[in-house]
Amino acid sequence: MANVSIRDVRKSFGTVSIIKGVDVDIQDGEFVILVGPSGCGKSTLLRMIAGLEDISGGDIRIGSRVVNDVPPKDRDIAMVFQSYALYPHMTVAENMEFSLKLKGVPAAEQKKRVAEAASSLGLTPLLDRYPRQLSGGQRQRVAMGRAIVRDPQVFLFDEPLSNLDAKLRVQMRAEIKELHQRLKTTTIYVTHDQIEAMTMADKIVVMHDGIVEQIGAPLELYDRPANRFVAGFIGSPAMNFIEGRFGPEGIVLPSGAVLPLDIKPQLNLGAEITYGIRPEHLQIAPAGTPGSIPATVSVIEPTGSDTTLIVKAEGGNLTVVLRERCALKPGEAVALKPVAHQAHLFDEQGKRIATA
C-alpha cells in the first residue's frame, strides 16, 4: 500500500493541452474517484499514473518514489479496464495467474493465491472457463481477481462498470466497495457517473476540461460545491440554476419575484448572481405564495419512492423532487418555495459566494 501524489501534472498532445496542471494527494488506503464529463482528462490522468501515457510536465509519486519514467511493469499497480481486457486465449485461472507467472511465483503458491481470490469473488466454479463463456459481471469480477492476485500498492479502475446493466452496476458497486474495505489498498477509480462517485469514494476529485474543479468528501461536494460546474455535476437530478440580481430583500428574478436569503452575502446591490437550489429543496406551495417561483407543471415522473416534477418557470425548466406522492396534474399552476438556508449562490464567474 502507498500514498500517491500528483504534482502539477500536465499532458499535451502536440499543441492540444489535455491536462493543465493537476494536483491531487491520495492517502495510503484511500478510495479516490476521479469524476467528470467525457473529455475532461480523467482517464488520461489515470493512464499517466499507470505509466501507459507519458507525462508532459509535473511529477507523479507512488510511495516515496517519483515514477514519471518508470515503466508500467515496475510501478507495482494493477489496473482494471472498462473492456475487462481479459486474455481470450487463457482460462479464468490462467488470466488470474498471469502476474504471478511473470513474477516466477512457485506453482503451488500461484494456485493458492488464485483460489483465495476466486473464492472471495465467487469465481471458484468458473476457473476452467474461457472469458467468452462468462457474462459481463463475471468477466469484470475476473478482471478484479486478476488485479487482486497481483497484490499491488495501488489499484487503478478505469470506468469498470460502464459496460454493465444498471442492476449489475449497483451490485458491483457494493462489491468493489466491500473489497476495498477488506483489502484497504489505495484505489484510484475513474468514472463519469457521479452516483458511482458519491456512493463509493472516500474522496472525489471533480475534473473538467483538464483541471481539477474541486476535491473533497462526497457530501462536502454535495453540500458546498466550490463552483457552478461542481454544483451542476454532482447530484441527480441536477441542481436548478436561476439567474437574478442581488436586492435588499434577497434575489430578484427578472419577473420581479423575490427569493429571500437567510444570509447576507458581501455583494453590491444589483450584482448579477446565479441562485442554485437542489430539486429536493424546492417545496410546492399554493400559487401566489410570497417568496416563491411561479411555475406550471410540465412532466410528472413517479419512481415509487419519490416523485420528480419537471416544471416550466421563468428562464427555463426546473426540477423538483418530492418525497411524498403528489396529486398534481400536468398544466397545473404551482408555486415553488425554496428552502432558504439550502440555497447556493454563484457569482458571474461561477464561483461560490460564501454564505456563512
Binding site: G51, P88, R132
Partner: protein
C-alpha cells in the same frame, strides 16, 4: 530433353503416375516454398509489427520496399536479385567470399526469390490482424508486471496467430506459383531450380509435353487445395481460442 519427351508418353501417365523428373520438380517446389515461407516468417512478423506499431524515420520507405514485389513485374524482381545476389553482384560476391553461400542458379536462390515475392502478402496479413488486437490487452499486461517482450510473446503473438497462419499460407501459395522472378534469377535447371511452374512451362515448349504439364497442373491444384484446407482448419481452431 529425351527424358521429358518420354514423360509425355501416355503409357507413363497410366503405369506410373508421375515420372521421377516430375517428382523431383514437385519435391523441389515443396522444399523451396516451405523454406521461403519459414525463412520469411520471423522477419515478416518483425516488419509487420514495426510498420503497425512504431513511428520511426524511414518507415514509409520500408513500407514501400516491402510492397514493391506486389506491383513490380516478377521478372524485374528476378533481374534485380540477379544483379544484387548474382556471383558478381555486391551482395552475392560478399556472401560467396565470406560465407561460401551461392544463391544464383541454386535452389536456395529460388527460395530467396519466392520469399521476396510472397513477403508483402505475409506482412499484410499479419498487419491486418495486429490492427484488430485490443491495445488494452497489451496495456493490462504491462500493468500486471509484464516486460514488453513478454507482452508480445504471451499476449500479442497468440492473438495474431490467425493472421500469421493466413500470411504463411499466402506466402506458401505464392512460392508454389512463383515463376517470373525465379526463372530470371536462378534459371530452370532440372533437379536444382526447376519448380512445378518452370517444369510446366518446359513441358508446354516441347512436342508431346501436354501429359506432363497436365499432371503437374493437377498436382499444383491438389497442393493448393490441401494448403487452403489445412490453413482454414488451423485458423478455425486458433480463432475459437482467441475470440473474446
Amino acid at each position: 530433353m529425351d527424358a521429358y519427351l518420354r514423360q509425355g508418353d501416355r503409357s507413363v501417365l497410366v503405369t506410373d503416375w508421375l515420372s521421377p523428373e516430375e517428382w523431383t520438380a514437385v519435391g523441389l517446389s515443396l522444399k523451396v516454398a516451405l523454406v521461403a515461407m519459414a525463412a520469411s516468417l520471423i522477419p515478416g512478423i518483425a516488419i509487420a509489427y514495426a510498420l503497425e506499431r512504431s513511428r520511426f524515420w524511414g518507415r514509409q520507405v520500408l513500407d514501400v520496399l516491402v510492397h514493391l514485389p506486389l506491383v513490380l513485374p516478377p521478372v524485374v524482381v528476378g533481374y534485380t536479385l540477379l544483379l544484387g545476389f548474382g556471383r558478381r553482384g555486391p551482395i552475392g560476391s560478399f556472401l560467396a567470399e565470406h560465407f561460401g553461400i551461392v544463391l544464383s542458379f541454386r535452389w536456395t536462390g529460388a527460395a530467396l526469390a519466392c520469399a521476396i515475392m510472397g513477403f508483402p502478402l505475409l506482412v499484410r496479413a499479419i498487419r491486418l490482424s495486429l490492427e484488430t488486437v485490443d491495445r488494452k490487452l497489451e496495456d493490462a499486461a504491462g500493468t500486471l508486471g509484464a516486460h514488453p517482450v513478454w507482452v508480445f510473446l504471451f499476449v500479442t503473438l497468440p492473438l495474431i496467430l490467425p493472421g500469421i497462419i493466413a500470411g504463411m499460407v499466402l506466402s506458401f501459395a505464392k512460392a508454389m506459383g512463383e515463376f517470373g522472378a525465379t526463372i530470371t534469377f536462378v534459371s530452370n535447371i532440372p533437379g536444382e531450380t526447376q519448380t512445378i511452374p518452370s517444369a510446366i512451362y518446359t513441358f508446354t515448349q516441347v512436342p508431346g509435353g501436354e501429359g506432363g504439364a497436365l499432371r503437374l497442373t493437377l498436382v499444383s491444384v491438389v497442393i493448393s487445395i490441401a494448403a487452403l484446407w489445412a490453413s482454414e482448419w488451423m485458423a478455425r481452431r486458433v480463432r475459437r481460442k482467441v475470440i473474446a
